[in-house]
Symmetry: C2
């Protein structure tokens, strides 16, 4: 077994890594802190060869003996590597002996340039993927959850017959119980389980649009790019929701809106939070003008200090708040379980849910219901918060140290994102290929604003959950590039 520290080569097996075309994705061997077996390294090298067209579909692979000789590995290692290639459906065994390639390079390879910027930033396989919007899954201890998943599968058939469209009853009650413990009263039958927080947002937006209101939503900017994309896709105009209650009132009085869309706690990407008074004032305004408020609650549990702040929903007497939550940033990345408490829009959201994905994945729901029922959750969240706080502070210090003089860096009280304001604007997206080669990416701040056309930008978003001290040289390099671009030395 070979353990690779972040950023190191893996010796003779990886000579093909050097000078890889930018579009070739790095293999497992470059993942920070991931331990690789020899057969996996060998398998990876064949995968690269197949993907870049060294072996075409239908070509025979070398014999096992030849592989042993060429790569200096044992027959056992070679066999395991080929078995893995077969399991991943890259190769198939031929009737007599040997193997041939099953799935070769794409006949019309889709260059990364065809993918939008967001998709590139979602790729977390670099040593320092600081442009990602997601919490680093390696920080979330999923051992308990994974055990619960295995146990939950025993009762699967009967749960599948029960499976209510709007979400597993047990899970909804557990979610409701956890809110209750914080003093927030949601009735579990008013909850819907969704495929992640994004579907909750999508349902909420679609529900308010059906009111016959004009397709315009006021959003606290800068905002989560996913939400902005969603609004654009639905043909909804986006206006900025001002920060002060007085300006908010002016806006609401001047134009009819379908909804307000806010993240009142640890807003993506600035990390800012509304005070309790600010939350109450916002709701009072919404009530006066009868405008629903869509609340994205995703980061609330990621507070650094003391207790969790209250959600907007806690103050909602009129059912005007459509409250969206998710486990993806706290307990279960990749499980795609979120929820929506849609206030007075319950019937409409249920009708929409029936049309969209019908039901959220059942194994995921079962496992989470068990996890929430047990004692592990407070401990797991606390562990995550501590880690996020440390990394956020570490990255903040490093950014202040290495970025151009005059750079400002947010100092959030929760979450894992830093919002960086540079002294001068420049075309930040153009820097990305350069830093990508250095094993890092970042999110140009323009992603978090509705006007995507702007190329000159003086803000950027960094994800601290993927940052460790080992990545400091890369951050330093980014700082130099930012300085150069702006005309500094």
């Amino acid at each position: 077994m070979v353990t690779l520290p972040a950023g190191c080569d893996a010796g003779p097996l990886c000579i093909t890594l050097a000078g890889l075309p930018a579009r070739m994705r790095p293999a497992d061997s470059e993942l920070p802190g991931v331990t690789m077996h020899k057969f996996q390294l060998l398998c990876d090298s064949f995968i690269r060869a197949i993907r870049q067209g060294d072996y075409q579909q239908g070509d025979r692979l070398p014999s096992l003996r030849a592989v042993c000789q060429a790569h200096g590995v044992s027959m056992n290692t070679a066999k395991k590597a080929f078995h893995e290639l077969e399991r991943q459906a890259y190769i198939e065994a031929l009737p007599r002996s040997g193997f041939r390639v099953l799935a070769g390079a794409a006949p019309h390879p889709l260059p990364d340039a065809a993918l939008p910027l967001e998709a590139l930033l979602l790729d977390s396989r670099l040593p320092a993927p600081l442009g990602s919007p997601f919490v680093n899954p390696a920080l979330i201890d999923m051992r308990v959850l994974n055990r619960e998943l295995s146990r939950a599968m025993h009762g699967y058939s009967s749960a599948a017959i029960h499976s209510p469209v709007f979400g597993l009853d047990t899970l909804r009650r557990q979610i409701s119980r956890h809110y209750h413990a914080e003093g927030v009263h949601l009735h579990w039958e008013s909850l819907l389980i969704t495929c992640g927080g994004m579907e909750a947002l999508a349902l909420a937006i679609q529900a308010v649009l059906q009111d016959g209101r004009p397709p315009c939503v006021a959003v606290m900017l800068p905002a989560f790019p996913g939400a902005l994309n969603l609004l654009r896709q639905l043909g909804v105009a986006i206006v900025a929701l001002p920060e002060s209650p007085a300006e908010q009132e002016t806006l609401l009085a001047s134009r009819p809106l379908a909804a307000l869309l806010v993240m009142p706690n640890f807003q993506h990407p600035t990390g800012q939070s509304l005070s309790d008074a600010g939350k109450q004032a916002l709701l009072d305004l919404a009530h006066r003008f009868d405008v629903p408020v869509i609340e994205d609650d995703t980061y609330r549990q990621l507070h650094f200090a003391g207790q969790a702040p209250l959600p907007l929903k806690a103050h909602d007497r009129c059912g005007l708040v459509l409250h969206c939550g998710s486990f993806s940033k706290t307990l279960a990345p990749g499980y795609r379980v979120g929820w929506l408490e849609p206030g007075r829009y319950l019937d409409r959201v249920r009708a929409l849910k029936l049309c969209s994905t019908l039901s959220s994945p059942l194994p995921s729901q079962l496992a989470l219901a068990e996890l929430l029922a047990g004692p592990a959750v407070p401990r797991l969240l606390q562990k995550l918060r501590r880690e996020l706080q440390q990394r956020t502070q570490l990255l903040r210090q490093a950014a202040l140290a290495h970025f151009p003089a005059g750079t400002q860096v947010s100092e959030p009280a929760g979450g894992y994102l830093l919002w960086v304001t540079l002294p001068r604007a420049s075309d930040l997206a153009a820097l990305l290929p350069g830093v990508h080669a250095a094993g890092l990416h970042f999110a140009p701040g323009s992603l978090c604003l509705p006007e995507t056309a702007a190329s000159a930008c003086n803000t950027l978003r960094l994800n601290a959950s993927f940052y460790t001290a080992a990545a400091e040289p890369r951050l330093q390099q980014l700082g130099r590039l930012l300085g150069n671009t702006a005309g500094d030395l």
Copy 2:
């Protein structure tokens, strides 16, 4: 342990079952063939009591001793029942002793009448839920898949970091390999993994609408209600796609369309299939008029005889077919894993996917990739097909025997649905409460047509996967009601 045959009472513990209000959902104890422990029965009876308001939120429950006396159970059984109630977050332990109700009846109980008909038919907890659109999950042997799920979770963190937005590479390659074995060439990088087949359909429809084409889709009717709902939600007009190529040509020549939407194999609900010549003719037409075709491939693997028929996609030279598939009807109900091969709409579908749910659930994808890599799939599918064929034939015979004279029943070559045509039309939806009390439901055929206003209907859809000989008396009762409604004896 008490095993309850389908439809039987459970003795003294269930005296509260008799005369339950219609809106109370039956408990596990009424599931056909499900084995219940005594503590589960006791737990269920408390749940019913809580939900119908016998115990309000905050009320203390009786002491364990009192429960033992009142229900005639041991202390051990009582404790297990209360533990289960606690685990499901219905009750919480009080500091000194005893328990109180945590989650009571809904403060404003949502009557079932508020739910659309489709939602009611999705409830499969009756003895004979013949109105459901889903395959009976009890027929799908998920033991291998569940084992793979447990194993797959070991590599979870590293998979979560890799996790590509468009779907796990391994899964996409396995799906591609399985098509390849059938002679259908799809490149795995052109596949997207979706949250079930419904999301695949939704993405396909949205993609073709972005063309600037008029929002009108020609659908082979009667059709899957979910697809019709989706089109309605997206504001798309639905026209009938005729059966004969000549009439199809007339339609395409007479009006511009965004797409054709078809299930060429074992169509929901009629079970009809296009011949190979019919498939080719449809594609030729689509090509001539440059109209994309959305293919719902969900039932193709459920053929009763011989080999699987070919999908439309197999004949697609121009990338005009957006091909949607799902594991929900074959291998993994509730897992929410589907796929889309969108032909020339790949870039657009990818952009849409980024906005919607971001990625499909990872545990589900990992488990399915492992299942597809192993040898179990052909055997599992074969077992399912055999069972579905038997049940379909059994239900068909029973319907012909018990429904009014002159009733026609489809004779599908695959799938699990029967399409019943009655000699006279009537308000079939009005019969549903009556048969629901008899432990059965069915789907009025009007659900499968775009004009939902029609109440007079002479067709209905029955789901044979939920039918056994034990349910014949209920079917007989339905037959009598249908006969009465139409004026027969």
